[in-house]
Structure formats: C-alpha cells, structure tokens
C-alpha cells in the first residue's frame, strides 16, 4: 500500500453516494464453477457498494476467445474495471470481498480506516 491510498479512498467514498456510473466487464469461461461464483459475487458486491450506478458486461471467452486480446486476459474469471479509470483487473472468483473492494478502489485499506 502507498501513502496516497487514504486520499483516493475518501474521494471514492464521496463518489459512492452520488458518483458516476461504473462500467465493469467480467470475463468468464462459460458455466465453469469459478465463473458462476464470480458472477454471483460481483452482483452481490455491486448491490452492496454501487447500488444503482453500475453496469456489468459478461464476456464468455469460451465462446469468443479472441475477445481476450482487448484486455489481455490470462485467467478466468477476471473482472475489469473499465470506468472510472484507470483500468483495473481483479483475477479470480471474487470470493474475497475485501480484496475485491480494495482492487476496485471502493474501499480504503486498513490504514485509511485508521487515518481518516
């Protein structure tokens, strides 16, 4: 973690109330167990932290593998935050909510909590 993190967290914290729409893209491998888990986890997190201001695009690479090229996807499932920028990737089934929130800059790390 860097020392800039508390500032970013506070800024996103403000945005979470009224901020812009989040564009999220979830790359999956068909109906694979981790893919299904990722979709469920993402829906839950978005409902909780971005209610009303998010869009999720599901891209099934098992059907269109060539679509992996755009975001340089290596493993599935992988979540990509397209907006707000900059682009961020979270690899895995999103079962660790805390790591997802940190990855999406939705939550400041533990240090940010202690130093508001």
């Amino acid at each position: 973690m860097t020392s800039r993190a508390p500032d970013a967290a506070s800024r996103h914290g403000e945005a979470s109330a009224t901020g812009p729409v989040w564009d999220l893209r979830l790359y999956v491998a068909g109906q694979s167990p981790r893919s299904l888990a990722a979709r469920a986890n993402l829906e839950r997190i978005c409902q909780t932290y971005l209610a009303g201001r998010y869009r999720i695009e599901i891209i099934d690479l098992s059907r269109n593998p060539q679509l992996a090229a755009g975001d340089q996807i290596l493993a599935l499932p992988t979540l990509v935050r397209c907006r707000p920028g900059p682009t961020r990737k979270i690899i895995g089934d999103l079962s660790n909510t805390e790591r997802v929130l940190i990855g999406l800059d939705l939550l400041a790390g533990p240090l940010a909590v202690e130093h508001p």
Binding site: S35, L61, S62, A68, L74, A75, P86, D93
Partner: protein, 614 residues
Amino acid sequence: VTRRPDEARADDVRALHAAPDEARQTLAAILNGEVDAVVVSGATGTRVFALEALESLGQRIDELARINEDLVNSRAAVLNMMEDAVEAGAALRRANEELRRYLDLVEVIVVAVNADGAIQIVNRKGCEVLGYREDELLGKDWFALCVPPRLADERRAFFRAMIAGPPEKHAYVEYPLLTRSGAERTIAWRSVPLVDEGGRVVGILRSGEDITDRRELEEQFRQAQKMEAIGRLAGGVAHDFNNVLTAILGYCDLLKDDLRGNRPALEDVNEIRTAGERAARLTQQLLAFSRKQMVIPQVLDLNTVLQSTEKMLSRLIGEDVRLTIAPAPRLGRVKVDPGLVEQILLNLAVNARDAMPAGGELTISTSNAALDAAFTKRHVGSVAGDYAALTVRDTGVGMSPDVLPHIFEPFFTTKGQGKGTGLGLSTVYGIVKQSQGYITVESAPGAGTTFTIYLPRVGGRKTAPVSRPAAPTTLTGRETILVVEDEPFVGAIIQKVLAPRGYRLLQARSAVEALAIEAAHDGPIDLLISDVVMSDVSGPDLASRISALRPGIEVLFISGFIDHAAVDLEALSRGGAFLQKPFTAETLAAKVRQRLDARGSKPAHQSSGEPPNP
C-alpha cells in the same frame, strides 16, 4: 472525453507497473483455486482451457513423465544389458581367438570333418603340410582332396564305420596325405569322434603328426644296419674264401713247377689259376665292401688323384660320354688310401657309363664341404665336420625310388646277366665307410644320378710316398722260420712253398703252440710268419711277445682281412711286413726273402745282442 497526452503517459506508466502485479495475482489466483480456466494465445489463435481438464492433463503428463522415466530407466537397463552382452560377446570372441591361436601354435595337424567328410576346421600346421590356404580347404571333401586316390575308398569306408559305429576313442592309424604339390607325407593320425548332445557321432576330430622325416630316418637306419650285417657276413665269407684261394693258387704254382714240360696239363693248371685269381678279385671286392680291406691311408689331395686318374677314366667311359673334371681350388686334404680313391672313381665311372648307353656327360668335381647338424640329422651315420667332397654326376637314365635303397648291397645289380658283378657300388660304399666318410646319392628316372662322397678333412702335410724295397734277386735261403697259421691248408702251402727253397720251417696252429715251440727250439729263429687274426692271441700280440724273447726276429703278417681296431696297419705296412691273402707261391717266397734281407740293413737297435746271421 479526451485525455491530455500527459495523462495518457501516466496511464501507460501505471499499466507498466501493473503488469508484474497482474502476473503475480494471476499466479496467486491459480494457486488459490480462484480461477478455473486460462486463456492461451498462440500461433493458431487464442483458446480457453478449463483448469480442471488441465489438471487431469497435468496428472496424465505426470503419469506420462513417470512412464517416460520408467522407459528411460528401462532403456538404460536394456542398454546396460546390451553392453554386457556385447562385452560378453567380445570376451567370448577373445577366448575363441585365443583358442584358435593355440590351435595354430601346435606343431600337430588338427582337422575336424563332419559326418559327410567335409572339412570344418583345419589349423595352421594342417594348411602348411597340405600346401593349401584355410579357405581352400574349409567345406571341401577330405577324402577327395587330401587322401591319395588309391587309398581314398578304403579311408572313406573306415571313416563311415567310425561315424556309424559306437563312439570309440582314439583310433590310431598311419596313412599318407596328398599335398597340393602331389607329394605325399606320412602322417600318424589319432581320431576322436565328435558327439552331439544326443550321443550321435556328427564328425571326427583328428590330430596328425607328420612322421615322414622320422620314417625316412628309421629307414636309413635300418638300411645302415642291413649294410653292416651284410658287410660282416661278406667279410666272414671272404676271409674263409681267401684261405681256400691261398691253397688253390699256391698248389697251382707248385703243380706248375712239377708239370714243367707237360704242356696240356700245364695249360689246365693255368686255367685253374686264372679262375682262382678271378675269385680272389671278387673276394677282394667283398672285403672292400665289408671294410676289412687292408689299406694304407695317406694324407693327400683328392685333386691329385683325380688328375692322375683322368686319362684312365676317359678311356674307360668311351667316346660317347663327355668327361668334365672340375677340381676345386684350395681343396682340403684327406687321409685315405689313394688306391681306394681310384677304385671309387673307376667304379662310379663305369656305373655312369652304363647309365648312358647313348652318351651323355660325366662330371667329376671336388669341393670343400661342411656337414652341419641339419645335415647329420637327416643322414643317419653322418658326422658333422669339415669334409672334402667328391661329386660324380651323370646325365644318364637315373634310378627309381624302389631301386635306390638297394644299390649299395653286394650282388644287387640292374645290369643284365653277366654284365656286372653287383659289387661296384658296394665296394665304393665300403671304402667310404672305411675312410670315415659319407656317401649320398641323388637320382630320379630320366634325371641322371649324382653321387657325392664326403671324406673328412685332415691337417698336416702330404705323406711321402712309401719307398718299396727292391725285389730280391734270389728266392731261397737257409734260415729258420716259425709259421703260425690256424688254417691247416694255408700252413701246408707255406710249407710246400718255402721248404723246397731251403728254409727250415717250424709249424704252429695257434699262438700258444707257437710260444711252446719257441721255448723248445734251441737254435735261432729268423722269421715269424703269423696270421693276424687267430682264435687265442692276435698276431701282433704274439709277435711282440716273441720279439721280446728273441730280439731281432723278423715278422711277416699274413691275413685275409684286418680288424682295424686291433692292428696299427700303417705301422706294420711301413716296414712292408705284410702279405695279403691270397698270395702266390712266388710272392710269398719273395716277401720272405725281402724280410730276411731287410734284417741286415736295419739299424743295430733291432738286432742288438743278436749275432749277425751268415
């Protein structure tokens, strides 16, 4: 929304920082099981692999790796085994080569033939004796190639019996091999049946020793022994014969004196005498063969004898035969009776002439020769050393191998009835043996004959020619003579010859009797006539005993043959005190007078203390 260029650059830098993080995260997610598929981009495009499948693929890969490992291991094992096998093979080959080397080292022929008689193995010695290379022999029929045709059927039958019969160990047989050149070698064979696991005879292994040379030596040895035996027999016969002939010739001489004026009777006696003389010559030759001839060896140069005989030889061989004499320079001297060398030359020349009825060439040459161990090994009876060689070579009809072993036997002749005595070559043989020499003969039908005579070289100067005492003018005398002769009719003829010429004779039949007569006789004894060989004491022994009792007594030995071991012939002959049987009445009378006259001219030591005879 447009971004300022510096913002875009900042994004790029972030992305650059993000890449290693992303790789780390991807790896962590895979390890945590949070992803279950991967995207793989390659030349053929991008594909998605489910990790589950990948996992099992991984397992299979592991499995394959294990299998592979096993394979690698087992391959190594196989390689090891192969290496071992190769090494074992090499060791086996080495052992085989070693065995083969041994097989080729032995001086014994080793041949293995299969049940059909085809050659399976033949060693170096076998190839050497047969004169073929190994590859020319392998697989060939033994009996067709290596056995003389006249024996092939018999040997093959024997072989088949051996193959068919119960395995019998070590059959020994001698039979000749036919070599590539067509020559035959006598081989002593031992055969062992080769038996397979089922006990069947599948071939024969033979070892053979080349005994040709040994057989030849044995044959030579037998030959030498035979000649020795014949010689002894001939010598014995000649000895007795000489006594008889002495009587015949002596009585003829006496009769001739009695028959003076009776012409027809005188002619008859002359016929008897001529026949007796012929018989005497034959006896002489027999004695020569049996090496009992009286000889007076001299140190001489063979070339001198050869040159002095040349004229006689060329007369002898006739006009159709060309004679070439090739004397070697610096020829070593030999010690031999020159008369015997002449006899050798004459006999060999006559033989050569008879072998060349249509003419040809006779070459007589001399040379220095050294007989070495290699020569003596091959020639029974020869002694190593330095020799002067006399070679007589003709271009005549030659002799066949079955005649050669007999040519030196007395009375063996290939000439027609009445043409030869069969004593010519046996005389030569006897002379050579008597002179400690050696004779070889090489001959083949149509290829002429070569005799080579080796006489031992001696040091020293040439012997001065023996000066013969002048023949006495008178053959009568009044002296007393003691005659010792165990053959009564020889004693009688001496009596008949000498008594009428005025001598007084005392007769003894043995040495013992002679000593008794000497002791009993009061008057002088001027001459002792004694046989050389007697049953009790030898003539020379008796002579020395009587000489001791009566110093100055003269001695005349008479003998038909001489045992060279017992008599110093040379010493005796130097004094001329020797008369060979058979002798004529006149020779005896002359010899007696000569001895008695010599007494007076001799230095004092021989007759010291003895009053000079009137």
